[in-house]
Amino acid sequence: MTQWSGYFGLILQGALVTIELTLMGSVLALVMAFLAGLGRLSRFFVLRALATAYIEFFRGTSIFVQLFWAYFVLPFAGISLTPLQAGVLALGLNVGAYAAEVVRGAIKSIGREQYEACTALNLGRWQAMHHIILPQALLVMLPTFGNNAIELLKATAVVSLISLADLTFQAQVVRSQTGNTLVPFSTILVIYFVLALLISWGVRSLERRMARGLDGVRV
């Protein structure tokens, strides 16, 4: 009889790495999403071009290729990353590019009258964005951000291929040590699914909290 408790400990360690990666990747993705999303709406051509190039590049190549590029090619340019750094970088930049389009779409979806009201109240561009547009746009972005976070969680499985000991990697370890394939892979499938459910539940409750006091506002 194999020592399942020890192997389960391994899987749990992997789950922690996966959660860590998801959280750090999401933070980077969020920052990049706002930088690039607002960049695409900028008045300045250079910013718009930079943001568009970033978005098209990272949406156009697959996450897997980007990860390998970050891990295997960057060292030749003198930048050595640990697997965790490469993973967070690739995941954050990749999902950030998708989320940037969400930011842009949400800001564009705010009605003209809101901008006109800002002008009428003599608010500056920054003030209008900060106090009027973004609070409303955030609510529009939130559900799609939740989907993006789940995509990011699912993409973290790829980092096992650059030898980062995440959930998928640990399952492979357990598989090679016990020769049993069904148990480790079923377990991690269920863990991934539960994590995805947690994310969607968290986003939904956040959405309810943020929607408070916005009754009657078009969302």
């Binding site: 098209e56 590049f57 949406r59 156009g60 190549t61 697959s62 996450i63 897997f64 290729v65 980007q66 390998f68 590029w69 295997f72 090619v73 030749f76 789940i150 969680l153 699912k154 993409a155 973290t156 499985a157 790829v158 096992s160 291929l161 998928t168 399952a171 492979q172 598989r175 394939t181 069904l182 892979f185 079923s186 991690i188 499938l189 991934y192 699914f193 995805a196 459910l197």
Partner: protein
């Protein structure tokens, strides 16, 4: 390390072999996803509660877990039950099932978007269920779906490098084996990235055209 064009010329034939498999996997996967998606969409509309609930949960589960783990599951776990699949077949099944759960949503939205009046008119004209579907609902539901379906097929194309993890000799795997043989990573991995970027930029143009052609149905 410098970029070496001679090396590029030397490895190009191997990479092109990989491209063929990548494209083959994408095409077969797309066909399977289109069929699986339709099956899921129809099962979820079924009046049989047990069937629609079960299929709904399964689809949700597949969508919430990483494709990589599903591929491992198909490739490593199914042989325990006597189902031994060649890598490419396992890969195509994985891609088709995973993206089938996404295309199912496209079908659902497409079918729901056919106005109620059409169903009622079909009934008023005494058409039976088969006639209603083939002559009234499907012809109106399909065209608006085409851009969204194409979108998912392009996304699937970008996920094909994952098949290298279950030993399919597609583009990424060829690039990795070339890189490991000569210990030069810059050229192979960058070329893979460039290839995916080129196809994606091309597919953006294709999508725009599809949206223009089919996006809005004239009422």
């Amino acid at each position: 390390m410098e970029w070496d064009w001679d090396f590029v010329r030397q490895i190009l034939p191997t990479l092109i072999e990989g491209v063929k498999i990548t494209i083959l996997a994408t095409l077969l996967g797309s066909v399977l996803a289109a069929i699986v998606g339709l099956g899921i969409a129809l099962a979820r509309r079924s009046p049989n509660r047990a069937l629609s609930r079960t299929v709904g949960f399964l689809a949700e589960f597949i969508r919430g877990t990483p494709l990589l783990v599903q591929l491992y599951f198909i490739f490593y776990v199914l042989p325990d039950f006597g189902i031994l699949l060649p890598p490419l077949v396992a890969g195509v099944i994985g891609l088709g099932l995973h993206y089938g759960t996404y295309t199912a949503e496209v079908y659902r939205a497409g079918i729901d978007n056919v106005p109620r009046g059409q169903w009622e008119a079909a009934k008023a004209c005494n058409l039976n269920a088969t006639q209603t579907w083939t002559h009234i609902i499907i012809p109106q539901a399909i065209p608006p779906m085409i851009p969204a379906l194409a979108n998912y097929f392009i996304a699937m194309f970008k996920e094909t490098p994952l098949l290298s993890a279950i030993t399919v000799l597609e583009l990424m795997n060829q690039a990795k084996s070339v890189a490991n043989t000569y210990y030069r990573y810059i050229e192979p991995i960058t070329l893979v990235g460039a290839f995916f970027l080129a196809i994606s930029l091309f597919s953006v143009v294709l999508l725009r055209w599809l949206e223009h052609r089919y996006g809005r149905i004239e009422r």
